[in-house]
């Protein structure tokens, strides 16, 4: 069991890193959070019941550690830190700007909604698994994902009063959406998870 436990910890590390980044929005803090969560998990491994959902157990430990840390120090964000790697891609100028807008909009979401959206989209996690990993009801998990998506859409497509900067952002995203249309979007969405309840 011990060996299997450690293998599972190693296997889940990339997913923990994504969850940690979704929560902290800061690379350094995310790395620290993963390390702290792994230390907690190793110390508490006797409390894990083999055959139960290891992924949910591990995500809960990381989340609890994040909440515990948050109580000790007020949340800080470093939006320049997060999308740097993603923005250094071969995407077009407009795409990169839209991606940066998306990263900034993500920063403005409540952390539970951001975490839920990212775990469903990036990890392909079901609402049931998300609920178990974040210690909430399935309906709450669905609602968090739905509200995150709806809020991002409002910010990114201008369903809220807009200043000049937001108007420029809206124009960019609308331009990209219009260019791609449904046909292009279908390709991008293959295998994607449904975001609405």
């Amino acid at each position: 069991m011990t060996s299997n436990f450690h293998d599972q910890v190693v296997t889940i590390l990339p997913r923990l890193r994504v969850q940690a980044l979704a929560l902290t929005r800061n690379r350094t803090m995310a790395e620290d959070l993963v390390q702290d969560a792994v230390c907690n998990a190793l110390a508490a491994q006797e409390s894990f019941i083999p055959g139960t959902n290891f992924s949910a157990w591990m995500h809960r430990i990381l989340r609890n550690r994040f909440i515990s840390d948050l109580r000790k120090r007020r949340e800080t964000t470093d939006i320049e830190d997060v999308p740097a790697a993603a923005l250094a891609t071969s995407a077009s100028h407009e795409d990169r700007l839209a991606l940066k807008d998306l990263a900034e909009a993500l920063d403005r979401l409540p952390e539970d909604q951001r975490e839920a959206l990212i775990m469903v989209v990036i990890h392909g996690m079901s609402y049931e698994a998300l609920a178990e990993a974040t210690s909430c009801a399935v309906g709450t998990a669905k609602s968090r994902v739905f509200r995150a998506r709806r809020q991002l859409e409002a910010w990114m497509t201008g369903d809220v009063p807009a200043g000049a900067a937001l108007q420029a952002r809206v124009a960019r995203v609308k331009g990209i959406l219009a260019e791609r249309g449904v046909a292009g979007a279908r390709v991008a969405g293959q295998g994607a998870t449904e975001l609405r309840p």
Partner: protein
């Protein structure tokens, strides 16, 4: 004649699902999130963290 409620909701549900799958914003959002986070997930695990796990594995053997 009004169709039974169940069959109507089932049809509406299928239409909604199709509409959602075709929603350009939803698909753009998913692609954007993958661009932002997939790279992070693919980064190599820090050696220090792997060593921590392996040291614990040895101790517990």
């Amino acid at each position: 004649m009004t169709p039974p409620k169940d069959s109507r909701s089932s049809r509406l549900s299928k239409n909604n699902k199709k509409n959602r799958q075709d929603d350009p914003f939803e698909l753009w959002l998913k692609r954007g999130l993958h661009q932002l986070f997939d790279e992070v997930a693919r980064e190599p695990v820090p050696e220090e963290l792997l060593r921590l796990i392996e040291d614990d594995r040895k101790i517990r053997k």
